[in-house]
Amino acid sequence: MNNLPSSSYLNRPQGIKSWLLTLDHKRIGLLYLFSVMTAFALGGVFAMLILLELLSPGREIIDADTYHQFFTLHGAIMIFLFIIPSIPAILGNFVLPLMIGARDVAFPRLNLASWYVYILGSLFALYSIIAGAVDTGWTFYTPYSVETTTSVISMTLGAFILGFSSIFTGLNFIVTIHKLRAPGMSWFKMPLFVWGLYATAIIQVLATPVLGITLLLLIIERVAGIGIFDPAMGGDPVLYQHFFWFYSHPAVYIMILPGMGIISELISVFSHKKIFGYKAIAFSSLGIAFVSFLVWGHHMFVSGQSELAAMIFSFLTFFVGIPSGIKVFNWVTTMYKGSISLEAPMLYALSFLFLFTIGGLTGIFLGALSVDVHLHDTYFIVAHFHYVMMGGTVMAFLGGLHYWWPKIWGRMYSEKWARVAVALIFVGFNVTFFSQFILGSQGMPRRYYNYLDQYQPLHAFSTFGSWILGLGFIVMAIYLIHSLFKGRPGGANPWGALTFEWTTSSPPPHENFAEIPRVEHGPYDFDRVTAKSTLGETI
């Protein structure tokens, strides 16, 4: 049977200081894992509380003002503290250098700095909870965000600082991918997760500074009353929305693109078949990154932008569907006649395919100008972006987390309990959010504390779903933590994958590889090469 290596990045060097001052990308990935998952748990608690409040009309547990604060905190924490750093900063940090055969990212100190900046930004964001939690919604629209007495400044300052963390990661990844690939790894020999991270990093670097200046202007507006977003003083509140979405629309692709990269890995490895349309998938990531900068106006169809602009933005929005569709078709075609094995990571990948397709198609509904005017600011929007963000990104993240878990820790989690958790999360997710599509199409507005009796059954259905979902995550937390101590060693390559990170021991040594690996085959050449699973049994 497999044994854990006696010396790995986990136990050498030792001591708390060696972790807090580490320059090792694997350890920094783990620092991110713990802090980002803490934020995820916190955001999840707020989500459960919001849905509990919505169980029936009127007051359930909290009053209307607290409700506004809770949905703002849920949104801001989930977006800025969880989903943006989740895949790049945790999994990307851990596996990117391993996948391209490098010893580390290009700038290890900048990498560590990004984590400290993340912590600093998080502290500002969390401070706002004590200091009268912000109640504007995570979008901080003016003029309300300038007028409200809640702590807008500490939350936006937090988001501003978190932006630097995101820029540092993106900058580091671009340089790493350009300059540190192992000899022989040409651009089209790179794993598709690396392509996904590359496209993501481009958006992080180009879009985040604009959010930075926007939030800075908002803070200065609040502190000094410069009037730049205040119509009474000759300013323009819609300019705020333009600035905000110029970042925040590309930002949704910061969230989904790395997830799509993970799905490409999972589908190929668990179908034991060469990926179909490698170049199409790689270029469609760059295509999405490009189009993402041209569609921000579709958030503002009813905000008073010109009709012509609205029509152009609506038209451009449809283009997002093309590269996304290319990816989905390629994944499905990869599975065709593959020998598919249904371990937990693959179950997450399949969940992603179902849920992302629903989320993507409803996005096309919303991009259509006339339909959006009807559905704008209803639960239909809420359901749409949860299908993309949670059904898409979170499913991909969980798939990737389970896939690389044996590489990170050297130990396997319980496959049986992992399947139970996937089932609970998949069912719970659909119960929670599919009902919201129906609610929205019937006219239930988002962000409302109270509602008409006719919406009660669907709201209650959604709340029940959130309990199933919560149970799924609790089960997952238990078996994952359990596996750290009791999981059986999985060996270097438990899944029989062909990318570089599986050629080194699990967990990898401090230097990643004893010797820099040589490229002898493509990342998905399952037709030419067989990698035997180190689990030693049919899986």
Partner: protein, 215 residues
């Protein structure tokens, strides 16, 4: 440079040679400069919008800026870019004393820029030509003339912060150079700071005509 020639002290363990390390630093720096351009891009966009909405106010307000001080500052900053480039060149040739001298001149010119800016600002503050609700001056015709000064102080203020950051970095370079860290083999930090300094200069070259000259 190969591994067999020995491992130079400045080479980090994860790079295979000095060339790779230098190229990585350069690419990283250019990407960072790109983020700076986008950061200022938001403000340039705000400038364009408010100018197109209030052309008379922008015209009436801009005559209150001191073109002579603005021109002087432009000359000061361009000269500092030249001395920065000379500092890099000197280190490439291994002339440490000359590098130190050019870095010190660059630092001094940056300080001169900020001193001139200080006089400009204090004059504006004295007259009440200030952003938003702090605007008290009444010599400019038209509604909301403060919007010009909002944009002016935001953009030149953010630029001033970048000058300060550049000064801190150059001061750090002076210390490192005097401690003999750099050589004709390894001068990447000086070169990267130079790139940053030229960008700060370049942004001013756009700010100067947009505020002081265009009527």
């Amino acid at each position: 440079m190969s591994q067999t020639a020995g491992h130079p002290s400045f080479l980090q363990h994860h790079f295979s040679d000095a060339e790779q390390q230098r190229e990585s630093a350069k690419l990283g720096m250019w990407i960072f400069l790109l983020t700076e351009i986008l950061l200022f891009g938001g403000l340039f966009c705000a400038y364009a919008i408010y100018r197109s909405w209030n052309p008379e106010i922008f015209h009436n307000a801009h005559v209150h800026l001191n073109v002579y001080l603005g021109t002087l500052n432009t000359v000061v900053l361009i000269t500092s870019s030249v001395t920065m480039a000379l500092a890099i060149r000197s280190m490439q040739l291994g002339r440490r004393t000359a590098t130190l001298r050019f870095l010190a001149v660059t630092l001094a010119l940056a300080a001169v820029f900020l001193v001139i800016k200080y006089f400009e600002y204090s004059h504006k503050i004295h007259l009440g030509q200030l952003p938003g609700k702090f605007y008290t001056y009444d010599g400019i015709a038209g509604t909301n003339p403060h919007i010009f000064f909002s944009v002016y102080f935001l953009m030149t203020g953010l630029h001033g912060i970048h000058v300060l950051a550049g000064m801190a970095t150059i001061a750090w370079l002076v210390v490192r150079t005097s401690r003999n860290v750099f050589s004709s083999e390894y001068y990447t930090p000086i070169e990267m700071t130079g790139l940053y300094w030229h960008l700060v200069d370049l942004i001013w070259i756009f700010l100067f005509p947009l505020f002081y000259l265009v009527g």
